[in-house]
């Protein structure tokens, strides 16, 4: 993975969401922490091209997120904070198949790919289920499957354990631990990133901490007065 922010800033209606940022991300597992409104989600959305920089640029594995957004989205998948927003169609297997429609695969190839990704996450029995009937953990795993069916190399997760009970939170943590993809995880759940390779800390739109989980989490606790 090679994600490069070069003098990247974001402003919304005169308000600065992200101060000019220069950082390069190459580690396999990166955590992003910070208080609410600190710029974490803006940072994550820049990587997938969902937010365009007001100045500077972001490149993902060499592709510019503005000029080559299609290629960027092939490289980097994005899991939203609320998996309900991730899933577009009400029947799980149809939703997962939707992500493959542009790949010009045959119906049989799509069916095989959908079955494979559902099996990978241990949820083949959910294929025909309606997504509104799924539990929080099942829904989160379904969101993983819907994105990973296109085989991105990088996965960006925006608060993946935010709405989950302890059982489902642990399920998501175990699932993430077993994944081969590069992960960038935005979270308030500090235990989730404590074994990661690198953690970034944002505050008021600025990157104020960057290093090992221990050091950056300690800095965050001090910032939050905890």
């Amino acid at each position: 993975m090679d994600i490069h922010f070069e003098e990247t800033s974001v402003r919304y209606e005169g308000r600065t969401a992200l101060e000019p940022l220069n950082v390069r991300l190459t580690e396999r597992r990166i955590g992003v922490i910070g208080l609410n409104g600190s710029g974490k989600t803006t940072f994550a959305r820049l990587i997938n091209g969902l937010v365009k920089p007001s100045s500077g640029k972001v490149s993902v594995n060499g592709f510019d997120t503005v000029k080559e957004s299609e290629a960027v989205r092939t490289e980097a998948g994005f899991i939203f904070q609320n998996p309900q927003n991730q899933i577009i169609l009400p029947i799980l297997k149809e939703d997962i198949a939707l992500g493959l429609k542009r790949k010009k695969l045959s119906a049989a190839e799509i069916e095989t790919a959908v079955a494979a990704v559902l099996t990978r996450f241990g949820i083949p029995h959910l294929a025909d289920r309606r997504t509104h009937e799924l539990s929080g953990g099942e829904l989160q795993l379904s969101a993983f499957a819907s994105v990973l069916v296109t085989q991105p190399k990088i996965l960006i997760l925006d608060e993946p354990t935010n709405q989950l009970d302890l059982l489902n939170r642990n399920l998501v943590e175990r699932t993430m631990a077993g994944m081969d993809e590069n992960l960038i995880v935005i979270t308030h759940d500090l235990a989730l990133v404590e074994n990661f390779d690198r953690v970034l800390l944002f505050s008021k739109g600025r990157l104020i901490g960057d290093g090992t989980p221990d050091a950056v989490i300690t800095q965050y606790r001090s910032l939050a007065g905890a």
């Binding site: 997938n48 927003n85 029947i91 149809e94 309606r130």
Partner: protein, 198 residues
């Protein structure tokens, strides 16, 4: 999110989506080509049988059609005010037949199947450079997807009013409903972009 699709093995479930949508198109043309109330009445009864054949229980079956029935009733009353009663009856039967037939198709066809079929039907227009067929299919699928979603939202806003002891008024319901629906549409659009679906 909920869906209008019902699991089942009825004849309509087993028919191909292309046949169903083609049949619905022909049926619609037929309804507007004829102006005899008896024939339209028979068509409405036939459509009601088709809807009942999907296996839906009568109570939820009627409940999901309630908004459409109310609209048809309003149109009929309006027609009664300005046109002869026979014309109003024709409008009532025509719209009822159309609504029931469409409801039968919607109840037996998944959104994915709708998207595939509409995309297939739009391919000729893509070949002459008019549209992107996949966009047309996705748009139609999303419209169908949002119907139960908007109903659910309406109910939750109404319940929130009642829980807070507020009087339920159309204006106080509609404004949050429109805002929430637009916000949700934005989120879905972001998901479509993020997943590279279009």
């Amino acid at each position: 999110m909920n869906t209008l699709y019902l699991d089942g093995q009825s004849l309509l479930h087993r028919l191909s989506t292309r046949a169903k949508l083609g049949g619905l198109a022909v049926f619609s043309v037929f309804l507007f080509a004829i102006g005899h109330p008896a024939l339209l009445g028979i068509a409405a009864i036939a459509a009601a049988f088709a809807y009942a054949s999907t296996g839906i229980d009568w109570k939820p079956g009627l409940a999901r059609l309630r908004p459409a029935f109310i609209t048809i009733a309003a149109v009929t009353i309006f027609a009664l005010l300005f046109q002869p009663p026979m014309e109003a009856l024709i409008i009532l039967f025509r719209l009822t037949a159309l609504m029931l037939a469409a409801a039968a198709i919607t109840a037996t066809t998944t959104i994915g199947a709708f998207i595939d079929t509409i995309t297939w039907a739009a391919k000729p227009f893509e070949r002459i450079g008019l549209v992107r067929a996949a966009d047309i299919g996705l748009s139609v699928g999303l419209v169908i997807r949002f119907v139960p979603e908007v109903t659910l939202r309406y109910r939750s806003i109404r319940d929130a009013h009642q829980a807070r002891g507020l009087k339920v008024r159309p204006v106080t319901l509609l404004v949050p409903l429109i805002i929430q629906t637009l916000k949700n549409a934005d989120e879905i659009a972001a998901a479509i972009d993020a997943r590279g679906i279009r």
